[in-house]
Amino acid sequence: MKKIIFLLVFIAGVLVFQSCSNDKISSIPADFATADQIAINAANVKAYINNLYAFVPRGYNRLDTDPNSDDIATGALPGVPGKGSLTAMVASATDEAVHATRNSAAEKWGTGNWSSSSTNNWDTQIKTEYTGIRRTFSYTEDIAPKLPIGLGGNEISPALRDQYLGEALFIRALLNFELLKRYGGYPIVKTQLAADGNFNIPRNTYDECTKYISDMCDQAQALLPVVYPTAASDFGRATKGACMALKARLLLYAASPLNNPSNDITKWQAAAAASAAIISSGTYSLYPAGTAGAGYESFFLTISPNPELIFSRLEPASSDIDQMNGIPSINLGYGGTCPTLDLVNDYETVDGKPFDWSNPAMAASPFTNRDPRFAKTILYNGAVWTPVGTPPIATVDTYDGGKDITNVPYPTRTGFYLRKFMGINARWIAPISNVNHSFPIFRYAEVLLNYAEAMNEAYGPDNASTFTLTARQAIALIRTRAGLTANQSVTAATTQALMRTAIRHERRIELAFEEHRHMDLRRWMTAETVLNQPVSGLKIVKVGSTFTYTPQVVEQRVFTNKMYRYPFPQDELSRNPGLVQNPGW
């Protein structure tokens, strides 16, 4: 009996230990997929590539009061800036504009109120960029090697494999460039870092970064198509042209004074060649001119067909940007980006002469007979602007007491509102009416400007070298499309230095509000002058039927030398001991 009982106890004990030895704790739920499971499904692979396009930089009102809105906390997508009266465009931190609602991130940035604190850098984007870069590596390292290549159902054809790889490389190059332009030489990450690995990654030099990105552009270009035959669904994917345009801008930046202190002419030559390659490819042309700058305006509201558009951040039709920069008296717009008088003054007259307030004829009627791009970029007092839902003929009244500045919630601070990008058919209160906006990342006009700038520096204003256009001719193309009746100021630019001024002027006008200015002023090293002086608006008083115009300072601006480069986040310095902060921060 005793033995039986002992046996029973023994058996019970064995049972317990057997249940343990089954190793209950090695069970893994099947919902945790590996890269293999993604790779075998063509739709999953495509979705993985599609997600990379979420990392293409935004342009329209993207600065909100939370500088960490680029924080990918949920892991899914880069943060979307809050939509509100405080959400500003980068232009409002430059001499292009001020933001209507006070205390915006743009105002803080423009007035020098930014630092290396992660809560105090209004345009850091560093987390978005490195996150996007990691995802491109996760594609190329984990998924791409496992693709089922073939022509059968649910297989991926060799052409598609190449296209996906090219897209991933292009996005990677683009995000690397976004880091480079902000920080200068940055730590290049060339693989998926391990969490328990080494974060002692030093910064690469500016030239190393340029070479790295440039080579990547070449690789991607070789893999990508010129255009997508299935444009209806694939328009917006990276193309050969996008890679070439990125490389052209990359090399232009590398040749610019900030990054080329010894003024190595070969860098300018390389930049010129990169732009020339796009011009000679014949794929792109300027959006057809219309009367009075109509072509210039249409470009920004036309997604396809658009021969000038090389690559853009596409968004579904929307009226967010129209609302955030809309005139407050119309459908309760937020005012938003208010162009400065400084920018307004830079628009020439239609016959190509500089505008001058001391010229009585010009001062009496300052907004007529200007470069046609002026009226297509800026809403001024007396401009006709009739969005849907307003009375048929509406003029913009920004004189004292005028309906668009007095007793409205978000009045302009300069006397001007933004017109560029604004869809006249947009309406954000019921009945909602959305319009297409695509923020241009690369467009042919910029390529021509890049080309002109590089050619002038490398060869002078009138030497086409081995290419088809001279600097002067490239600029003339742009001015002609804009509808200027004469090229006086360009014609007068007889020397390389005068031509440089003319090209920079042209860049300011043509590319206004497209997020070029804050980087152009830095790479030209003129920001310490231009961005360190107050910006002005216009006080307009109506007496009888005549207006008097008085310039007034609307915002003090601060730019110190250290601001040529962004500071790395302070927290990052302790996490990556190899990182050296930019000087002055």
């Binding site: 009996m1 005793k2 009982i5 002992f6 029973l8 106890v9 019970a12 317990v16 230990f17 704790i25 090695s26 893994i28 739920p29 919902d31 945790f32 997929a33 890269a35 993604i38 999953n44 495509k46 979705a47 993985y48 599609n50 990379l52 396009y53 979420a54 990392f55 293409v56 949920t74 899914a76 604190s117 992660s118 809560t119 560093i126 987390k127 490195y130 996150t131 996007g132 870069i133 990691r134 996760s138 990450v189 870092l193 391990a194 969490a195 328990d196 974060f199 209806a232 669904s233 328009f235 917006g236 396809s304 596409l314 579904p316 695509s438 986040p569 927290d571 990052e572 996490r575 990556n576």
Partner: protein, 955 residues
């Protein structure tokens, strides 16, 4: 061994030898160490058999130990100490009684009586810090236990005591052990208790006249040119109550809450045993009829917060042979709850809905019923609280649980002397289901604009919504272990060892996750030399599938030692009864909230927009990247303690100081952004330190025996590193502070006329300001009040200091005990309808303290800012609303009378004790609006004070 003496102290003091004894409930008990021969020599005449529970060794994890030889930090009480305390959540009755355990009761909702409880405070800045609750060494829910079944409660605090709980030991362990049968004649206990409950505190809302007066004032404060809402005639009508329908003045609390509710507890237990079988059976039933006034003539169904709890338990031990003991325990509970309204037990629970309605409805909003008998209400105020109670349908909630366990203990003494083996299997199931039958009701407002007057109807009557299982909760636990125990004595050497293997699985079928399993070996080795040098080694090696294969198991070791100095020869006869120094050091773990973080997964998301008509594309990304770093929190605990007893044990005391250092706390994105993905890294660091002291004095004055005791526990924590982003100013950091501190603006003073004129510092981001509004400090002196001026403004809700004190008296057949409990260094945040005026855009009510508001000329001395209907300025998080919630309560008092035995013996009753008790009797504190322990917003079922009469019968 133990004895009971009628006049013990004198006898004992006269005795030539120092005796060890304790006094519990007036009984003096001799403790251990005397041979039969010595006992016979003791000059004691009147010895009876006392309850053996009182000298039982202290229950520790998977075993017991005499308190004298314990080297870790534990505190313990007997179940009988708290069994007469009313209430449904047993944890609340432990408040202030066990050093190191803090229990803060947040709500009085019967059955839940929600609380937070901690052993030695927080151990990490992540999670609630709740200790593990074990019933008979098995994971279980504290609410499942019947109080009369509790034999003992032990709180295990330091590494020596908790290292056996490995991956879940860091937060401490509350170990509850149930009663078992003892050899002897059958014993039957019957306990019954009726408790009358009422809220400890309710907000005091103002009547209609005062409401209307203050409303007019607030209106004018906001807009001096406004036309006051209430005319002089209306004010007069409110004051005189001339027309209760047109000018109602309703005290909503009186209309909806009973003066008192009734809770009845019954328990019968039967125990006994012979050579073959020992048994303990218990059955109990508890009802609580809830606080709400319900008109039973309206509904055939019961909409009150009725609660009925059945609990049965059987613990049986069978001596299957000379060497084998088979034990089988079975417990089951069935709980039914009723409540008004649909889905009443889903979040937010029904009490929050109802109290929000009661507390947010001004006295003059509408009459309970109109003149025609219809329910009052209008488009602004649709939530007639009386309507909710009687016309909104009901929810029935049934919760059942079942625990069964079986063990086989085999004495292997024939193989090796002192060796025992035991295997133990157990399963627990919980199953809760909610059956809801909601109904809408219409409210009517008198329309005096037309003649004859009509009623305007708002909402629809009688739209029924039915759902079953609107809330279901199914959880399963299994817990098996096999143990080998060895005890041996070799001269002066005493060795005991324990080795075991345990596997536990916790499966919450209510959420879509796979079960969580823990398994691994554990062991303990104790060595004692000359019974005064003590050393213990404890370790568990435990694994969980939440960690990668090469890092799945963690070793949690602890070492502890003690020295009973008073037993050294050089101290013999010194009058020191006990002087023991002990210390422990070891590591415990805490499995943080991770779910297969070491694996990779992909998820769908949206991609970029593509196409000539741009369309958001389907995207996919790696939503979790295999995290090789994932691990448990590691808590290294150090404890030094001292146990003393003097004056023939009349004075006893213990002291402990401890320090805990927790590392490997998972925090998000604490590594370089260049990693490029969200990842949790085990890099958080936390510290917790504190001290505990308890002392007791027991003596008698003539026939009056008395005991007086007290304890205090202090636990203060600090976040050392939590990856807080760089802030602009030092005061903006939470790092360096305790977890859960309050943050907000720092109140400076009320705005004066000149403050408003100067408009600097600019506070306009928070609203507009007028004299009497709260003015906040401009900490960075930039003349703008903004996020840069938000600082730490108060301690966390969880108090850092907890204390208790008890007084016990016994005089002949009478006994009296008083328990005080209190806390300090914690805060409550006053907000919402119980504190603020006209909450919810002017719709809310006003309370008594609004009478002492700021008015022009009243200066800075008033207790409350100017009244406003809508201005947000005063209601942003600020130090003005943080209140010290320190308090002292008379937590429990009991007066008992034990009837003379001679009277009852004839009818078979061996003992009868009648008692009255009071729970949460008196309160001293600084918070006025609500109970200081209650939830910050104070919108939950109030904490209850209760007075009970009861009877303990023993057959």
């Amino acid at each position: 061994m133990m004895r009971k003496f009628t006049k013990p102290n004198l006898l004992l003091r006269r005795h030539p030898q120092p005796l060890r004894w304790i006094v519990v409930s007036g009984l003096v008990l001799l403790l251990g160490g005397y041979s039969q021969a010595q006992q016979k020599k003791l000059p004691v005449k009147d010895t009876v058999k006392a309850a053996d529970s009182l000298v039982k060794p202290i229950q520790l994890l998977y075993g017991t130990q005499q308190k004298r030889y314990i080297t870790g930090a534990v505190s313990a009480i007997s179940g009988s100490d708290v069994s007469n305390i009313p209430g449904t959540n047993r944890l609340n009755s432990f408040s202030g009684r066990l050093t190191g355990l803090s229990v803060t009761q947040l709500s009085g909702l019967p059955s839940s009586e929600d609380n937070f409880y901690q052993v030695r405070g927080y151990h990490s800045f992540v999670g609630s810090g709740r200790p593990v609750v074990l019933i008979n060494n098995r994971l279980d829910d504290i609410n499942e236990i019947e109080p009369n079944d509790i034999e003992s409660i032990t709180v295990l605090k330091d590494a020596a005591a908790t290292a056996l709980y490995g991956l879940n030991g860091a937060n401490g362990v509350i170990l509850i052990t149930t009663k078992r049968g003892q050899t002897g004649k059958i014993k039957i206990n019957y306990n019954v208790e009726s408790s009358f409950e009422q809220p400890t505190r309710l907000p005091k809302f103002l009547n209609a006249y005062n409401y209307a007066t203050l409303y007019n004032e607030a209106q004018l404060n906001d807009n001096p040119t406004a036309t006051p809402k209430y005319s002089a005639a209306a004010l007069q009508a409110y004051q005189t109550g001339s027309d209760p329908f047109l000018y109602p003045n309703v005290n909503w609390i009186d209309q909806t809450l009973k003066k008192s509710s009734l809770q009845i507890r019954n328990n019968i237990n039967v125990s006994g045993g012979g050579d073959q079988v020992k048994y303990y059976f218990s059955g109990s039933y508890l009802t609580d009829n809830g606080i709400f006034k319900v008109d039973k003539s309206i509904n055939t169904y019961n909409t009150n917060s009725n609660l009925g709890v059945f609990n049965v338990r059987g613990n049986v031990d069978i001596n299957a042979s000379k060497y084998l003991v088979i034990s089988a325990d079975l417990r089951s509970k069935r709980e039914t709850r009723n409540a008004p309204g649909a889905n009443a037990f889903s979040s937010p629970t029904y009490d929050q809905t109802i109290f929000t309605a009661i507390y947010s409805t001004p006295a003059n909003a509408y009459p309970v019923r109109n003149a025609d008998g219809s329910l009052g209400g209008n488009a602004t105020y649709t939530n007639n609280p009386y309507g909710i109670l009687n016309y909104s349908g009901y929810t029935n909630y049934v919760s059942t649980s079942l625990t069964g366990s079986m063990s086989f203990a085999y004495n292997l003494g024939t193989v090796i002397k002192g060796l025992k083996a035991k295997v133990d299997f157990g399963f627990t199931n919980y199953d809760d289901i909610q059956i809801s039958r909601g109904k809408t009701f219409a409210v009517y407002a008198l329309n005096t604009a037309v003649t004859p007057n009509t009623y305007i109807k708002t909402n629809a009557d009688g739209v029924v919504s039915a759902s079953t299982g609107g809330y279901t909760n199914r959880q399963r636990i299994y817990d098996h272990f096999a143990t080998l125990n060895y005890d041996g004595q070799f001269g002066d050497h005493n060795v005991s060892a324990m080795a075991m293997y345990e596997i536990q699985q916790y499966d919450n079928a209510s959420v879509n996750t796979v079960a969580n399993t823990y398994q691994g070996p554990k062991g303990k080795l104790s060595y004692r030399f000359k019974n005064r040098y003590l050393v213990d080694f404890v370790a568990s090696y435990q694994g969980s599938e939440q960690y990668p294969a090469n890092h799945r198991y963690g070793l949690f070791p602890a070492v502890s030692a003690g020295w009973i100095v008073s037993d050294e020869p050089f101290l013999k006869g010194s009058g020191i009864d006990l002087f023991k120094i002990r210390g422990s050091y070891g590591k415990t773990g805490n499995q943080a909230n991770t779910y297969f973080d070491y694996l990779t997964s992909y998820a769908a998301t949206s991609g970029g927009s593509l196409g000539t008509t741009p369309t958001v594309q389907t995207g996919s990304y790696q939503n979790q990247i295999a995290n090789p770093l994932i691990t448990w929190e590691s808590d290294v605990k150090t404890n030094i303690g001292l146990d003393v007893a003097f004056l023939h044990n009349r004075l006893s005391a213990s002291f402990d100081v401890f320090k805990e250092h927790t590392t490997n706390i998972l925090i998000t994105n604490a590594i370089s952004v260049m990693y490029g993905a969200k990842i949790n890294t085990p890099s958080g660091i936390f510290e917790d330190r504190g001290l505990e002291a308890q002392a007791a004095w027991t003596d008698h004055i003539g026939a009056l025996e008395y005991t007086i005791g007290g304890n205090v526990s202090i636990a203060k924590n600090k976040i050392i590193y939590q990856n807080e982003p760089t802030k602009n100013y030092p005061w903006m950091y939470q790092t360096g502070n305790p977890v859960g501190v309050r943050t907000g603006y720092v109140f400076d003073r009320y705005f004066t006329e000149s403050d408003v004129m100067s408009s600097l510092p600019n506070q306009s981001a928070l609203g507009s300001q007028k004299p009497g509004d709260l003015k906040y400090k401009d900490l960075n002196r930039d003349n703008i009040i903004d996020a840069n001026d938000i600082a730490v403004i108060g301690a966390a809700k969880a108090p850092e200091v907890n204390f208790g004190a008890n007084l016990g008296f016994k005089y002949q057949a009478f006994d009296l005990s008083l328990y005080f409990q209190g806390t300090s260094h914690g805060t409550t945040y006053n907000s919402g309808a119980t504190t603020w005026e006209f909450v919810n855009a002017g719709k809310g009510s006003v309370v008594e303290h609004h009478m002492d508001r700021w008015t022009p000329g009243s200066g800075q001395s008033t207790a409350y800012p100017r009244l406003t209907l809508t201005n947000p300025n005063n209601f942003v998080a600020s130090s003005f609303w943080v209140k010290d919630n320190s308090f002292v309560r008379l937590k429990y008092t009991e007066v008992g009378y034990t009837l003379p035995q001679s009277l009852l013996k004839k009818i078979g009753i061996s003992s009868t004790r009648v008692f009255v008790n009071g729970y949460n009797v008196l309160l001293w504190d600084k918070v006025k609006e609500k109970d200081p322990e209650a939830n910050d917003a104070g919108l939950t079922y109030p904490l209850q004070r209760s007075f009970s009469i009861g009877l303990n019968l023993k057959f």
